[in-house]
């Protein structure tokens, strides 16, 4: 008979008897975890590719930190091209009493040249595409921004010195950035209204964009000209490399979430290995009989491997289908987050899903099943004959190779893949070590317990290998979730609370030279003592020791140095060293040195390769300024005070124009501080530190929700390992349950024994997870947040509770047959 038919028949029998359900579930889960992540990132990438032009607002864009004039502007005016421009900068936005720091965007006529703003039509409540840009004298607000300010269409909105009428709410902007950190209201005004607002002044930080679109030939000509003629601080973006920040974010998300999903694949693989062993054990006798009846080794392999392959295809299809449903459900959310309309998914995730499912099955499921071919026919007569265990080395090798392959593929590099593999194996090994130690403790405890309790705990310690696998697998899933929760809530709160009590809570930016004295007076009136306003002068690096320096002076791999050398940054001047600065080399000036001296933050100096004694020259609005590096400083950036990479000695920057910045601690009772300050000086930007911290928190919440969702797959995979282990010991359990019933044990007593066993497994998993998560959180606290390590009992309690619950529910479900089968049936069936 056709071997495929035999394999198919066997699969149907096994599915009906429930023998291969865990194997199937493990494959479905592994495929689902990887494929759902893949579907989502694939759709986002497609959206990006399809809407690249719309995302740019044109076919090509030149960005710069200064007005884009000269040759580039002339080239943009070539025949066949349309051109427009935008300006973006932060500013306070007022609506009645409400006041927020907003993201301003001033739009030139014709913007966007590709795509359109999508506006909410107040008349109909529906949406429509905008015809152009806001009329002069009016503005648009992002819908979320209007909600934040409590503004509605028709209200007067204060921006700088101007009052503009809110004309429309923007639902979607053509070139929206994927900026998780930006939840500030977005404000759109006509470019012609900018001068009247008084917001663009010397030293203001403004992003300029020149947008062109047109016939492809003309655009190509423009882009090749622009590439050659980009000025300093200017960047060209075309449809091909549109929104690199979105692309990077997607790429990172794909890799990170993909790797996170692989944690569940690894655990599912453990479940597959366990289930495959049980599967092959169940088929031992049948295979021996088939050998007796003349089946060749090849036939046995074809039947068993064929069955697995069919099962794999079934599991992969189900996993892919479920993932497809899941990503469909989150598509709306994704669309809102990316501000994109996303197209359907492609075939790549489907192929990935099948690839992962079949790899896991081949690497972990096939070795024990292949070993069935070696079953001796004599086993029909002598059941104790058993030579079908596959070589442990072979199993380990096949499994590790499969895992390495998956990780390598997902990480995109052998190095990262190996590191990840070692990381997962190391973590599992540590968890297994912890589990082993805790199980050893349990062994001692159980002698003090009675009856069903003792029996349950005895099961944990007797099946130590299986218990360790269950505890470490469940533990790994739980650990990931606990760690995430801990970082998201506890660490952020502790970091916030660890800020010094006198840390400033408001940054005031964009103070013009003539506003320094009145602002100081205003602050004094608000109870702020001795505020220091630091000049902030925008400068670009020109020369070091007389030698011209630009981004190209540094090799590709020193990306940060290249960026630093290209972009404008702020210089300031101070009289003395503040407590949050510490000189690490050289001598800080006292008084006023004869010639300009510079003090440089040590890491910044190291990045750019500056040393003490170097003569550094800057370009400040077309003028040259030189100073000698006389000291290097270490800066405590978390002091929440204005700090600068480069400060100059007193008086040396006096002739240069710029704005001022200060950070102050405003007493909590001064609730109208920001409103009054901005009312008096509309051009000032006030940054509320608490609001920023809230934003950070909101962002972390958002990102971790996604990661958490992926880690739930890991927890589910951990539960599957538990089920696989229970299933592997099902025959023993049935027999033992039967014996206990025969000896007078009631159903309730048997249930208690199971409760004690699975609570113990769950509790141990929770403890193992809590210990590992606490240690890891300690490392993160120390390295990322610079906070002392403290244990979190709540974390341990949560871990223990979730672990116990997960193990109890899964374990009691899996062993329900043990209680429900009459003892006579159990004994008859299994006694042999």
């Amino acid at each position: 008979m056709n071997r495929t038919v035999l394999a198919w028949r066997q699969l149907r029998r096994d599915l009906a008897s429930g023998d291969v359900r865990i194997l199937l579930a493990a494959i479905v889960l592994a495929v689902m975890a990887v494929t759902s992540v893949s579907f989502i990132t694939d759709r986002a990438e497609r959206a990006l590719a399809l809407e690249a032009n719309r995302l740019l607002g044109g076919d090509a864009v030149v960005r710069g930190d200064a007005p884009i004039e000269g040759a580039l502007r002339a080239a943009a005016a070539a025949p066949g091209l349309q051109v427009t421009e935008t300006l973006s900068f932060p500013s306070m936005v007022r609506a009645g009493e409400a006041l927020r720091l907003g993201e301003m965007k001033a739009l030139g006529e014709g913007f966007p040249l590709r795509g359109a703003f999508r506006l909410l039509d107040p008349a109909t409540g529906g949406e429509r595409d905008a015809d152009g840009v806001p009329e002069p004298g009016t503005l648009w607000l992002s819908r979320a921004g209007a909600d934040l300010l409590g503004a509605k269409v028709g209200d007067a909105i204060g921006v700088g010195n101007s009052e503009l009428t809110l004309a429309a709410l923007v639902v979607q902007e053509p070139d929206a950035a994927l900026d998780y950190f930006n939840t500030a209201p977005r404000v759109f005004i006509n470019l012609a209204d900018v001068p009247a607002t008084g917001l663009v002044q010397e030293g203001s930080r403004i992003g300029y964009r020149l947008v062109v679109a047109g016939e492809s030939g003309a655009v190509e000509q423009f882009t090749s000209f622009a590439k050659e003629n980009l000025g300093r601080g200017q960047r060209l973006e075309t449809a091909g490399d549109a929104r690199p920040e979105i692309r990077r974010a997607l790429d990172r998300a794909d890799r990170f979430l993909g790797l996170a999903a692989l944690v569940s694949v690894v655990l599912a693989a453990v479940a597959v290995a366990m289930a495959a062993r049980r599967h092959s054990a169940r088929h031992l006798q049948g295979s021996a009989v088939m050998r007796c009846l003349g089946a060749s080794q090849g036939t046995l392999v074809a039947i068993h491997a064929g069955e697995l392959l069919l099962l794999g295809l079934m599991g992969c299809s189900a996993g892919v289908a479920l993932a497809f449903g899941l990503q469909w459900a989150v598509a709306d959310w994704l669309m809102a987050a990316l501000k994109l309309s996303i197209p359907g998914a492609g075939w790549r995730p489907v192929l990935e899903g099948f690839g992962v499912g079949l790899t896991v099955l081949l690497a972990f499921g096939v070795p024990p099943v292949l070993a069935l071919r070696r079953v001796p026919a004599l086993r029909v007569l002598r059941r104790d004959l058993d030579s079908t265990e596959p070589s442990a080395w072979l199993v380990a090798l096949a499994g590790l190779s499969g895992l390495a392959l998956l990780l390598w593929w997902k990480a995109g590099s052998a190095e990262v893949g190996s590191a990840m593999l070692l990381g997962i194996l190391g973590t599992l090994a540590v968890l297994a070590g912890l589990a082993w130690a805790l199980i050893a403790v349990l062994k001692r405890v159980r002698s003090r317990l009675r009856g069903p309790w003792r029996y349950g705990l005895a099961n944990v310690s007797r099946r130590a290998g299986a218990s360790i696998a269950q505890v470490s697998a469940l533990g790994l899933g739980l650990m990931a979730l606990l760690l995430l929760t801990f970082v998201r809530t506890d660490l952020l709160d502790r970091w916030r609370n660890a800020l010094p009590a006198d840390a400033p809570n408001r940054f005031i930016v964009n103070v013009q030279p003539d506003q320094v004295a009145p602002v100081r007076e205003f602050l004094a009136g608000q109870g702020v003592v001795g505020p220091v306003l630091y000049p902030m002068i925008r400068a670009r690096l020109l020369e070091v020791n007389g030698k011209a320096v630009s981004g190209d002076s540094f090799p590709e791999e020193r990306g940060r140095a290249r960026r630093m050398a290209e972009r404008e940054f702020n210089l300031s001047q101070v009289e003395s060293l503040r407590a949050d600065n510490e000189v690490t080399a050289g001598q800080f000036w006292t008084g006023v040195p004869a010639s300009p001296e510079l003090s440089v933050e040590e890491e910044f100096a190291e990045t750019l390769g500056w040393k003490l004694g170097d003569e550094v020259t800057f370009d400040i609005a077309g003028s040259r300024f030189s100073g000698r590096v006389t000291s290097l400083r270490k800066v405590d950036w978390e002091s929440f005070r204005p700090n600068f990479f480069v400060v100059a000695s007193p008086g040396s920057l006096d002739g240069f124009s710029g704005s001022h910045i200060t950070a102050v601690k405003v007493p909590a009772e001064r609730t109208r501080f920001t409103a009054d300050l901005v009312a008096a000086y509309p051009n000032l930007s006030v940054v509320d530190v608490d609001a920023v911290l809230d934003q950070v928190r909101g962002t972390v919440e958002q990102v971790s929700t996604v990661v958490e969702a992926v880690f739930y797959f890991s927890l589910a995979a951990g539960v599957l390992v538990l089920l696989a282990a229970v299933s592997a010991s099902q025959d023993e359990r049935l027999l033992e349950g039967g014996v206990m019933r025969v000896l007078g044990g009631s159903r309730r007593q048997l249930r208690w024994a199971q409760v004690s066993e699975f609570s113990a497994i769950g509790l141990l998993s929770g403890l193992v997870a809590a210990i590992a998560a606490t240690v890891l959180a300690g490392v993160i606290a120390d390295l990322a947040f610079d906070l002392p390590w403290t244990a979190n009992p709540r974390l341990a309690a949560t871990g223990a509770a979730v672990g116990t619950l997960a193990a109890l529910v899964a374990g009691l479900f899996a062993t329900r047959g043990v209680v429900n089968t009459p003892p006579s049936v159990t004994l008859r069936e299994l006694q042999g």
Binding site: Y455, L735, R741, L743, G744, G745, S824, Q831
Partner: protein, 233 residues
């Protein structure tokens, strides 16, 4: 009519089978395993159930011990009608009045010898399980091996633990199913001696299922089954 367990005669009976039948449905019809089996076993009596393979010995044992329910008829164990009880009720009766010895020992591998013997006492809620368990293990010659797990014991030793477990509850009736089936002749002989000695000393009623005619002959009475019917009692 009063239940038979109310009468003085019934009180002296350890076990009574009345018209016991067991049928199982098959696709081709009904298979009769036991048919109209009835007998009485007095307290303290030792009875062997013998018969060829498939004669219904093990099924009869299951019904007598309350491990299974008959299709017809009833079993009275120490005066209590088993068929009137649900599975947990029968489990309680087993815990209180019945001891078992199996061919394949059926010790729980996760428990030590001592813990295995303590288990039935603990299951029925005795406060002191350890004292009697230790005592009886010494009695069967395993006083030095209390902490050993089944896998660390020989077959004979495992069966001795099983005997200790069976007798530790001082059961009214002890059921033994081919107790020497998995042992070599010498060890089997020793186990049989021990079984009968313990039975004698504790005054327990013994119901023994066996193929072994010599072992059956050591019992006071032989019930012979053939094709599901009792052919001699």
């Amino acid at each position: 009519m009063a239940d038979s367990h109310d009468s003085p005669v019934a009180i002296s009976q350890a076990l009574r089978a009345e018209g016991l039948g067991k049928r199982v449905p098959l696709p081709t019809g009904e298979l009769t395993i036991l048919d109209g089996v009835g007998f009485t076993i007095a307290k303290g009596e030792a009875v062997a159930i013998v018969g060829a393979s498939g004669s219904g010995k093990s099924t009869l044992l299951s019904l007598l011990a309350g491990l299974d329910v008959p299709s017809e008829g009833r079993v009275l164990l120490d005066g209590e009608a088993l068929s009137a009880l649900d599975e947990d009720g029968r489990a309680r009766v087993r815990g209180e009045k019945v001891g078992f010895v199996f061919q394949s020992f059926q010790l729980l591998p996760s428990l030590t010898a001592l813990e295995n013997v303590m288990l039935p006492l603990e299951l029925r809620g005795d406060d002191d399980a350890e004292g009697p368990a230790r005592a009886i293990l010494s009695l069967v010659g395993l006083g030095e091996r209390l902490g050993h797990y089944p896998r660390q014991l020989s077959g004979g030793e495992q069966q001795r633990v099983a005997l200790a477990r069976a007798f530790v509850t001082r059961p009214a009736v002890l059921f033994a199913d081919e107790p020497t089936g998995n042992l070599d002749t010498t060890t089997g002989q020793a186990i049989v001696e021990l079984l009968f000695r313990l039975n004698r000393e504790s005054g327990t009623t013994l119901v023994l299922v066996t193929h072994d005619e010599r072992l059956a002959a050591r019992c006071g009475r032989i019930l012979r089954l053939d094709g599901g019917r009792l052919v001699s009692a």
